[in-house]
Symmetry: C2
Subunit: 346 residues, 2 copies
């Protein structure tokens, strides 16, 4: 197994460098900060595939004219509680942040409000938004589509996105922050296994011919299995249809632009925010503690609830710093000193 | 393996008898019809645990004064798009039907609208509502809590409901109707295996001491595993907290009243309805066909999408009739001729 050398950097160092890279490539200060913070959240929560690893791609997308680093998008309240957002191919973090700001405020008077977003770049870890909204005392349900990477249950070809669903619920303690993709594993993990020469686990993926494989290199051209069998597959399809129907964005193999350098993004994002009942945060916190204190199967590993592990990882990383591959760190430095190469939107 | 004798009855016969039973025990005509139709949907879709099997329990709950067969509940628009419903312990089908009628109409002007429901009896198969709303051209996201029957991932005690989530999306063909519980199997299935003396599959359940078991009889006092490992567990917990926070209902082991004869129901129900984009039904239908036509792992079994199998089962049952256990059919006839025993609400 190959080991790739890593460097440990403080969150502050990483943030400063990421902001500089983004600003050097045309992002205004606020946009650069929002997008950098989103990427760093991915690394903080232990999901580097949603972290700084994506920054060089964002720069290439700016250069290719499929990401506009300046726009804030355009939004319209088509109905009193429904915000339609055209992201105008801006930064995912900026468009998502603006949409959430509008609907969290609106939901205070309408009780529930939703944002349906098209023409937006990758919005990163949904957990980031779930935590933000739940910490503000409202619930969030979020989903987004992705390139077709998952094969149907009983199928062999990638037809479904890894379509994550996230839920945030306020609690008197740490909020409930649930965020999962509907694939058995992420394509990022398949790539990491391929780079490390590690065999996959059985049931994770099929190759380009639709045959089950343990070879990560072959799975890269194949498809990921849905998580949880027929149920997980059903949830993935339901989210694919739901997001597309609400946002008028692409479905299945027509989705592009979150894993490549030169296609406009055709996926959709959906946020639904709602008001909670008085007393809910205390009731939820008491329940979560009951669950944590319930008997565990392995006495050395207490029962945890969604968000516990990544919150702990995040707290440690804030102190210990982030582990970034040497090569990535060097690339970011190069990008920060390279001449700006902002393309105009295609 | 024990075989329990069954009788085949037409849907019309079953419906007439169920309505008579409900009317004989105090339900007005409309309520009896809505509740009977909901139960029959369970049998039509091949989920007898949500079918007529529940009717004797409803009668016992009326007699015990924990189900009011007459009330239509009370609903208040606390915000312009948020309907708070006190079911006043009425029939689940009636309260759910009324709430959906209000929010589907409201969503036409607000874009999205939600109903949060407490003090309501079991609302049956969520697929029923998903199909109804999607057929009307809107999307539905629905969830409901249940008695704690599922153990945490890495845990041993039942702490989480089987908390289903359903999604309905309009399509130019049959709508997308997705409905799953977040347990690996239903407690109904465990009971059916116990009655048949059949061993469980590995990974389905633990016994009262939290030890994995294949003995269905022992699992009845134990806990069901979450579906899909840590992810399915996380989704179950997230829905438990989400529903409780929106409805101010009970959590975890405090949830009662859907599996017993004499406790008020303390669970919550949540419906969210939203408007779709023009053209969505055609885009969704084309996508579903792409998925169905994609290569299958087993050439004898084509790829299906959520709702296909139960729609096919439903169509067959409408022609061939329903298979009802002899003993249940006899019990329903007895209930229909028994003197009414309507208790007053506790």
């Amino acid at each position: 197994m190959m080991v790739r050398p890593e460097i440990t950097v403080s969150v502050q160092e990483a943030r400063t460098l990421a902001i500089k890279v983004l600003q050097d490539h045309g992002a205004p200060s606020r946009g650069a900060q929002l997008q950098a913070d989103l990427l760093i959240e991915g690394d903080l929560r232990g999901h580097p595939s949603h972290g700084l690893l994506r920054l060089p791609r964002l720069v290439r997308r700016i250069a290719a004219g499929v990401l506009d680093p300046v726009t804030e998008g355009r939004s319209t309240w088509t109905h009193s509680a429904l915000l339609e957002v055209d992201g105008e191919h801006g930064f995912g973090a900026v468009i998502a942040h603006n949409a959430l700001a509008e609907i969290t405020e609106r939901a205070a008077s309408t009780g529930v409000a939703a944002a349906v977003i098209k023409n937006n770049n990758h919005i990163g870890m949904l957990a980031h938004y779930a935590e933000k909204v739940a910490s503000g005392g409202q619930v969030l349900i979020a989903s987004t589509t992705s390139e077709a990477l998952v094969h149907p249950w009983g199928g062999r070809r990638a037809m479904v996105g890894t379509n994550p669903i996230a839920v945030g619920v306020p609690s008197a303690g740490d909020p409930v922050v649930f965020d999962m993709a509907t694939g058995a594993v992420s394509m990022g993990k398949i790539h990491a296994y391929a780079a490390a020469g590690r065999p996959l686990e059985a049931g994770w993926a099929v190759d380009a011919d639709g045959r089950p494989t343990l070879e990560a290199e072959r799975a890269k051209d194949g498809a990921i299995a849905p998580f949880g069998g027929a149920k997980g597959y059903g949830l993935g399809i339901a989210l694919e249809a739901l997001v597309a129907a609400l946002t008028q964005t692409a479905l299945g193999r027509d989705v592009r632009g979150t894993l490549d350098d030169d296609h406009f993004s055709t996926k959709g994002d959906v946020f639904i925010v709602a008001q909670v009942q008085r007393g809910a945060p205390h009731a939820v916190a008491a329940y979560l503690d009951d669950v944590r204190n319930s008997p565990s199967a392995d006495p050395r590993t207490p029962v945890s609830v969604p968000g516990d592990r990544s919150a702990a990882r995040r707290r440690r990383a804030l102190i210990d710093g982030l582990s970034i591959p040497d090569a990535l760190w060097a690339e970011l430095h190069t990008l920060a000193s390279a001449p700006a190469s902002k393309g105009s939107l295609k």
